[in-house]
Amino acid sequence: MSNRPELLAPPEIFYDDSEARKYTSSSRIIDIQARLSERALELLALPVDGIPRLLLDIGCGSGLSGETLTENGHQWIGLDISQSMLDIALEREVEGDLLLGDMGQGLALRPGIIDGAISISAVQWLCNADKSSHEPRLRLKAFFGSLYRCLARGARAVFQVYPENIAQRELILRSAMHAGFAGGVVMDYPHSTKSRKEYLVLTCGPPSISASVPRGKGEDGESCSEDESSEENQMVCISDRNRPQKKQKISRKGKGRDWIFKKKEQLRRKGNTVPPDTRYTGRKRKARF
């Protein structure tokens, strides 16, 4: 992706008043955030007993993800570095408590009290050094170390991340392991470039119990659900509309049946909903149609 917000400016500057407002007034972003937090909550695997838990939302922004937590009846504390985003959260009258803080400085919380933590598209910001005093490795260490301390034993933390490259994913994962977490990466729709989502699922406590990583959605070519509009870009980013489109080469005879089958197979692997192959596939319509 060419236009990652992380590369433009530090988070407290990038998410200024206008960007925060844009972020929260776009129904597409709201929709994606809600779906991501829904899935993160599912991966958190809290016991289903109807008791509200105390959760932490790291990089809560304007409280879009927190809303999902509230809908599921949980109490939450949100942390974000952008004052503008938190102002919008206040305007939206979110239920959780908000803190202005930098996750790279460590979480200012008492040990062993949080029942679970989620974070939607936030942790990759830690990989950037925005000030001369910032050292990504140390900031990740401070973050994961303090998170490990404040989580209750056996509690889980689920982070949806957009790592820029493999090195970044490695760096995040390694810092988490050094802090003592067990777990790994769950990838939803790994074959698709657009709807692929990565979740870091970490368990606090001894690695023996329940540290197995859940399976991602769509790993064996299972389709996305209907509402997963696959033609739409699922990343939360500002897409570049002026980018020149690739010209397609078409021979006089058209592309042929084999080409269609190949294309459909590709889409199926990506997890899209594709009509079945029949004897009508790729047939020309009659002239009188």
Partner: protein, 122 residues
């Protein structure tokens, strides 16, 4: 900021051994109605630092909480109501949190504590 968040927060300035509890300086307190949920309170109770909560509630002007509490008191509806009010309905809207060791102030504006540290405190 509600008192249950205050009960979780501690100062994480470099070199501070015991940053809990943060002292509260009150400029403005707001009360907001929240649905009563005894299950949540019972789940939260073992994690609370009771003394810190009582002190914090006093500074906010709520003196109904008993000095001592144990889990047997969770059966009483009256006690749960008081706990609910103190934990979830009292908001510190304007004021400051003060680190007990260094005296560093974390300002609270519009109900949001500013926990950002300066570079030399990390």
């Amino acid at each position: 900021m509600r008192l249950f968040t205050h009960n979780m927060l501690s100062s994480n300035i470099k070199g501070v051994a015991n940053g809990f509890p943060l002292r509260i300086e009150v400029d403005q307190v707001v009360e907001k109605q929240v649905d009563f949920n005894p299950d949540f309170l019972k789940n939260m109770f073992p994690k609370l630092e009771w003394k810190a909560l009582v002190d914090a509630a006093r500074t906010m002007g709520y003196t109904e909480l008993p000095e001592e509490a144990d889990s047997s008191m969770l059966e009483s509806e009256d006690f749960l109501r008081k706990l609910h009010h103190a934990l979830l309905e009292l908001h510190l809207e304007e004021g400051a949190l003060v680190c007990p060791e260094t005296g560093r102030k974390f300002p609270v504006t519009k109900g949001i504590p500013n926990m950002l540290l300066h570079e030399d405190e990390v």
